[in-house]
């Protein structure tokens, strides 16, 4: 009988890492649910989370070296932020717009992840503007002779934006160490993919820029990890960019302001909820005897407790001083 070690090894991971993947995914799920709950309780005016995207997010981010590689996520990437090393406390302080939120001190909307030490670059709301930033980061690394990789994320809607084309073209020309990720959940708010593109798999566009584009089951964390790992290796070897399309589904509304019943059926949501990447991966872990049910539940309990503690810390954290709104328009002289 194959051991957990062998199974893990087949994926280039250790058994601990296989469990760590599940932990990160469950933690992301829990933080997302918590933000939506706090929003419903009226504690935060807005929530945008990534339930359903955990495999795509954790699987890609897990292939990176935190603090060395650069991450330019989009607003749904709770799983990316946590995998790289941001904490539930960081995210919940952002959700509650606390003064010491490392994301923005309450200036940016929640889920606009940022950490200088972790090289998670603060993002904006205009979709896809982070794509050229990732290109620039990688361009700088190339000029400076560093083997750092930049990964950037966008949704399927974002692939329609001109910046995405300009960025992929630029990165292709100079074989930059960029990984372009698209979390294709088949909707841009209410607009279905077939109204956004004439091609089924957006990854085919990479061929037009001279680098590989792969479409992967975005609900299969190990498949996503494998694709990302391969892309990171390519990038480190100086062979240039990779585009990764992770097909997935958001099993929650677009944001706390959205009513998804207006544009999709309960059946469709149910069908995808059944494909929940967490359930699927937990089953895989137990089926392959990497973990038993008790271990899974222990991980869940640990994550839940962390998020409970983080919620407390965040709620207790001070709100910004009103007059501080005037600061940091420009760099302040030391």
């Amino acid at each position: 009988m194959v051991t957990a070690k062998e199974i893990a090894g087949a994926h280039g991971l250790s058994p601990e890492q296989l469990l760590d993947l599940y932990y990160k995914m469950f933690l992301a799920r829990t933080v997302g649910q918590r933000e939506r709950m706090l929003n419903r309780m009226g504690k935060g005016p807005f929530a945008v989370t990534g339930e359903g995207h955990e495999a795509a997010q954790v699987g890609t981010a897990y292939a990176l070296t935190p603090g060395k590689d650069w991450v330019l996520p989009y607003y749904r990437d709770i799983g990316v932020a946590l995998t790289i090393g941001m904490t539930p406390t960081d995210l919940l302080k952002a959700h509650l717009a606390r003064a010491d939120s490392i994301e923005s001190g309450g200036r940016n909307m929640p889920s606009h992840f940022s950490s200088v030490p972790l090289r998670i670059v603060s993002g904006s709301a205009p979709v896809a503007t982070q794509y050229p930033h990732a290109v620039g980061v990688a361009l700088a690394a190339k000029i400076r002779g560093l083997d750092e990789v930049a990964i950037t994320y966008v949704g399927d809607g974002g692939t329609s934006v001109g910046d995405v084309h300009e960025s992929m073209n630029f990165a292709g020309i100079h074989k930059l160490a960029v990984i372009f990720v698209c979390e294709n959940n088949q909707y841009a708010i209410s607009v279905k993919w077939d109204k956004q593109s004439a091609v089924k798999d957006v990854a085919v566009r990479a061929a037009g820029y001279g680098f590989p584009g792969v479409t992967v089951d975005g609900n299969d964390v190990l498949a996503v990890y494998a694709a990302a790992k391969e892309a990171v290796n390519r990038a480190r070897r100086g062979e240039g960019p990779t585009f990764i399309e992770a097909k997935t589904y958001r099993i929650v509304p677009h944001t706390s302001d959205d009513d998804d019943r207006r544009y999709r059926t309960a059946e469709e949501v149910a069908e995808w909820t059944a494909k929940d990447p967490l359930i699927r991966y937990a089953a895989w872990l137990t089926d392959n005897r990497v973990a038993d049910q008790k271990q899974i539940e222990a991980i869940q309990a640990k994550a839940l407790q962390e998020v409970d503690e983080a919620t407390q810390i965040a709620e207790d954290a001070p709100t910004p001083d009103p007059a501080s709104a005037l600061r940091h328009v420009f760099v302040e002289d030391k």
Binding site: P45, F46, N108, A125, G158, S190, V191, T319, P322, V329
Partner: protein, 327 residues
């Protein structure tokens, strides 16, 4: 007469125009599902997908395609989901929509309407709160409107749709569901370029537009009741062209001017109003022209505490008016 919220007035204006003229279409992100603010609720069912078109997430293409369609017998109303997201379309709006008629010596024209929710006060953060009228009022060939009442919204949106020039129509999103107003059931329009005196007064001329109209009216109320100062509140409504005549007339009457806008103070549209008055009504001025606007920080930080600190409100406006009254 029926009581309507501003968002309903916007909805009705487009709905009625599309009923009247089958060449009119709406296009934008999520408009097919009714739009994120429900401005096009029911349009797809009524007019079909071709006339209520969900576009890809690509503002430059939305405006660019609208321009093209307008050359070939279609009258597009292009929606930018938030004013902040019109920035990627800046080139198409400034270089193309606004310049086509002039550069072709009047041969081609571009009768599109671009409508978009703008403005702060809803915890939208720095990318769902911006005012953009100052950028576009500076662009020759483009008309710019900013509304914050149901009556004005319906009458001016109809005028914008019927105007043979490109019109940028700004709807203050905080005003969408602020209150209900009696508006005529039958078809009416409001001429572009005409300001509206929302409150008559004799001591101070307060020039404003957008959401600040409501804050200014409250401030005027306070000054009347608490200080016995009579403030005339002028709602520009049209930013480009704007109603110089009406403003100058009022200034000549009061001799004191308070200009109120939500946008960043430096280079905001209120600067143009002030400069015009300083040149054309200088002899009538009894006091400095005072501007009350947001400080020069990105509008608006997400935190309600920070947002409230930077945005003008009735208190800050009243304070400015008192200074002026005391002068």
């Amino acid at each position: 007469m029926a009581e309507k919220q501003m968002i309903e007035a916007v909805h009705d204006a487009m709905f009625e125009e599309m009923k009247r003229d089958s060449s009119i279409i709406v296009m934008g992100e999520d408009v097919g599902g009714g739009g994120v603010f429900r401005a096009t609720e029911g349009f797809k069912a009524e007019f079909g997908e071709a006339r209520c078109m969900d576009t890809p997430l690509a503002e430059a293409a939305i405006v660019g395609a609208a321009i093209g369609a307008s050359l070939n017998g279609i009258l597009p109303i292009a929606e930018m989901q938030f004013a902040d997201f019109s920035h990627p379309a800046f080139d198409q709006i400034v270089s193309e929509a606004a310049r086509l008629h002039y550069r072709s010596n009047g041969a081609w024209s571009c009768p599109i309407t671009i409508r978009t929710p703008y403005g702060a006060g809803i915890h939208g953060g720095p990318y769902h709160s911006q005012s953009i009228e100052a950028f576009y009022a500076h662009v020759p060939g483009l008309k710019v409107i900013a509304v914050a009442t149901p009556y004005d919204a319906k009458g001016l949106l109809k005028s914008a749709i019927r105007d043979p020039n490109p019109v940028l129509f700004l709807e203050h999103k905080k005003a969408y569901r602020l209150y209900r107003q009696e508006i005529p059931d039958d078809d009416y329009t409001i001429p572009i370029g005409e300001a509206d005196i929302k409150r008559e007064g004799t001591d101070i001329t307060l020039v404003t537009y957008g959401m600040m109209v409501h804050h200014s009216l409250k401030a005027a109320e306070t000054l009347q009741s608490e200080d016995g100062v009579s403030v005339e509140v002028i709602d520009l409504r049209s930013i480009s062209p704007w109603d110089k005549e009406r403003v100058l007339e009022s200034v000549k009457k009061t001799g004191k001017v308070l200009i109120v806008y939500e946008d960043n103070i430096t280079g905001g549209f209120g600067a143009e109003v002030s400069a015009t008055i300083a040149q054309e009504a200088f002899e009538y001025l009894d006091a400095p022209i005072i501007r009350v606007a947001s400080p020069d920080v990105p509008i608006a930080p997400y935190s309600g505490i920070l947002e409230e600190y930077i945005l003008p409100n009735a208190e800050k406006i009243a304070e400015g008016a008192r200074k002026l009254a005391a002068y």
